[in-house]
């Protein structure tokens, strides 16, 4: 007989809602558990909820903490009372940490069973903060009064939709490789969510170029020895496009600077450059420019590429990226910069009649990211490519 892995769903709810509508609790615990299990082969799912009154008072229970940290999925019965409860909000915050360590996918299933909009103006800032974080997710609407009046068949169909999504979350967990290195997944998490907040410093794409400045400098020739090749690139960290209907922010995900001698002599890689800061820059090889020394610049986990995109050498503004042989002339060097964009978030203008789901917003963000790159393309290889000015470096 095959061994079954058991996945747990932590059921987060306000006790008051359980007393008011016990039918909801049964639907989204017992019946939901049955329906999820019906979709799984060689795995089992069970819902855990506090039935022992552990969540009384303000003291955080170790048992609750343990259950949250081993849960595969968090199921939230979203109501004004849930938002009000400090305990429920903490459950959500703790599970967000668990989710972050997985790196990809979302594992919270909020079920909106009572409207919250009318109460929003009375919420505290801490409550509004959690409200905003949970509203950013895909949620199911099962308003209690409507849901409990459905026929049994319709109600089962609604529960089955929730079950289908939770079964998908479990599928994703089963397909993920065994816990990659923590640093890798933490980086993906911050990269994905940390960038999603809007920045007051974003600049208008209609007014500014994404490239603030870029330059390559080469040491003056002396004594027939090798000379340093230095560079620096300053990007606008965040750009926005605003229309009457929406506002989207984006920035540079990664960039590659290539330098080559177009005349006599050679530009060579600098021993040790790779180990200066491998998370920020590393040598790569470009097929479309194979004779060049090319350096890729990567965005940091929490922000896009910005000023000083190349790690400065010796606390200087400039970054030494290569050496040039004595024959190289500054006016015969060729330097090019290639970039890729990444969207950070989409905001729909207030007052639009039809709110967009989070899934649709994500699709639009991704498509706009591709459209921006396509609009900017000027290189023969289909990448955004700019020539970079070159000069001599005067000591």
């Amino acid at each position: 007989m095959a061994e079954h892995t058991t996945f747990t769903g932590f059921f987060s709810y306000a006790s008051y809602d359980a007393k008011t509508d016990p039918g909801l609790i049964t639907a989204f615990t017992t019946q939901l558990e049955y329906r999820i299990n019906a979709k799984l082969a060689n795995a089992r799912f069970q819902i855990w909820r506090d039935e022992d009154g552990l969540r009384i008072g303000e003291r955080w229970s170790d048992k609750i903490d343990d259950e949250l940290r081993r849960a595969a999925v968090l199921i939230v019965l979203l109501t004004p009372r849930w938002i009000e409860s400090e305990y429920c909000r903490k459950e959500f915050s703790v599970f967000e940490e668990v989710e972050a360590l997985r790196g990809v996918g979302e594992y919270v299933a909020p079920i909106l069973v009572r409207p919250i909009e009318q109460q929003e103006r009375y919420l505290t800032s801490a409550q509004l903060d959690v409200r905003a974080r949970i509203a950013d997710r895909q949620y199911f609407k099962a308003i209690a009064t409507d849901f409990l009046n459905l026929t049994e068949a319709r109600r089962n169909a609604e529960i089955d939709k929730v079950a289908d999504d939770i079964a998908g979350m479990i599928d994703r967990l089963r397909s993920l490789p065994r816990m990659p290195a923590r640093s890798v997944i933490a980086r993906r998490y911050t990269g994905r969510r940390g960038l999603r907040e809007f920045s007051a410093l974003a600049e208008d794409y209609a007014e500014v170029d994404f490239l603030r400045s870029s330059e390559v400098r080469v040491d003056r020739a002396k004594n027939h020895g090798e000379r340093g090749v230095y560079a620096q690139v300053d990007f606008v960290e965040r750009l926005y496009v605003k229309s009457s209907k929406a506002y989207i922010e984006f920035g540079i995900r990664h960039a590659i600077l290539s330098v080559a001698a177009a005349g006599p002599g050679q530009v060579r890689k600098l021993d040790g450059f790779n180990v200066q800061d491998v998370d920020r820059a590393a040598y790569v090889s470009l097929q479309e420019f194979p004779e060049a020394v090319s350096v890729a610049m990567y965005a940091s986990p929490t922000r896009g590429l910005a000023e000083l995109a190349l790690p400065p050498t010796n606390d200087n503004y400039w970054s030494q990226i290569a050496t040039a042989t004595a024959e190289v002339r500054a006016d015969r060097l060729r330097a090019e910069l290639r970039v890729s964009f990444s969207p950070y978030g989409l905001h729909i203008a207030d007052g639009r009649s039809q709110p967009l789901s989070q899934a649709t917003k994500r699709k639009i963000e991704a498509i706009i990211g591709v459209a921006i790159e396509k609009n900017e393309r000027v290189g023969p290889d289909g990448r955004i490519c700019r020539s970079v000015p070159i000069g001599e470096r005067i000591p």
């Binding site: 997985r102 790196g103 990809v104 996918g105 979302e106 895909q138 289908d164 998908g168 599928d171 994703r172 397909s175 993920l176 490789p177 990659p180 890798v184 994905r192 208008d204 794409y205 209609a206 500014v208 994404f210 496009v241 229309s243 929406a246 995900r253 590659i256 590393a282 040598y283 790569v284 090889s285 470009l286 097929q287 479309e288 890729a296 090019e336 890729s340 990444s342 969207p343 639009r352 039809q354 967009l356 899934a359 649709t360 994500r362 699709k363 639009i364 991704a366 498509i367 706009i368 990211g369 591709v370 459209a371 921006i372 396509k374 900017e376 000027v378 290189g379 490519c385 700019r386 020539s387």
Partner: protein, 211 residues
């Protein structure tokens, strides 16, 4: 031709954004393929190497898309029609709803293993070596340990009787064929003259694919 293009093309993006919002508002679950059409993008070319993390493709008809090299981590493809969709070299960590047989587009007509599948094999071989460096001979010798080669891959080459058919693909990988998606253009490896050396970006690429 490289041009200094300092004139921002924001107007076109604003118009595209508005069209996308209109389309999104028309449907409770706007289809990715429909949004792509509205944006005037080409499914067969524009989504190669695209950043498509955590997208919800459930119930979509994605036939005609090329997602080669795209980052599709966490994407949900349940009930999507992905017949013929290209995923070569795509990052699919945590992506769900893709049946193994759907991904067997990597075996080409004639049941040969594709170059993208073998590129990953080559990176894995390099990653297993000291300093991440593997010669072309090592790639040829060790590829069967990393990639499920077909009978057709292992057959003798018609033009080079001493070589198996799959050796030609390894030769292509090492000699920079297919510029847009090759491992050097994407910064995943460096050409060393007699083989490849995997970069940090290459190791990260493998980690994210679960290797």
């Amino acid at each position: 031709v490289i041009a200094d293009n300092t004139e921002t093309p924001a107007r076109a993006i604003v118009e595209t954004l508005d069209r996308l919002i209109d389309e999104g508002e028309r449907h409770e679950r706007a289809s990715f393929a429909a949004l792509v059409r509205v944006a005037g993008l080409d499914p067969a070319h524009d989504f190669i190497d695209a950043f498509l993390v955590d997208l919800d493709f459930r119930d979509e008809d994605l036939r005609g898309f090329d997602f080669s090299g795209a980052d599709l981590s966490g994407a949900d493809f349940r009930r999507a029609n992905v017949a013929g969709v290209r995923f070569e070299g795509a990052i699919l960590t945590g992506a769900i709803g893709l049946k193994r047989k759907m991904l067997v587009v990597t075996k080409t007509i004639g049941n040969r293993t594709s170059e993208p599948e073998m590129r990953i094999g080559a990176l894995r071989i390099a990653a297993s070596k000291p300093n991440g460096y593997a010669t072309t001979t090592q790639l040829k010798d060790e590829m069967p340990k990393y990639v499920d080669l077909t009978v057709q891959d292992l057959a003798s080459s018609k033009t080079r009787p001493n070589e198996a058919m799959y050796h030609q693909i390894i030769g292509n990988i090492v000699s920079h064929q297919d510029s847009r998606t090759n491992i050097f253009a994407r910064g995943l490896a460096v050409y060393t003259g007699d083989g490849i050396q995997i970069t940090d970006a290459g190791r990260e690429f493998l980690r994210r694919r679960g290797f």
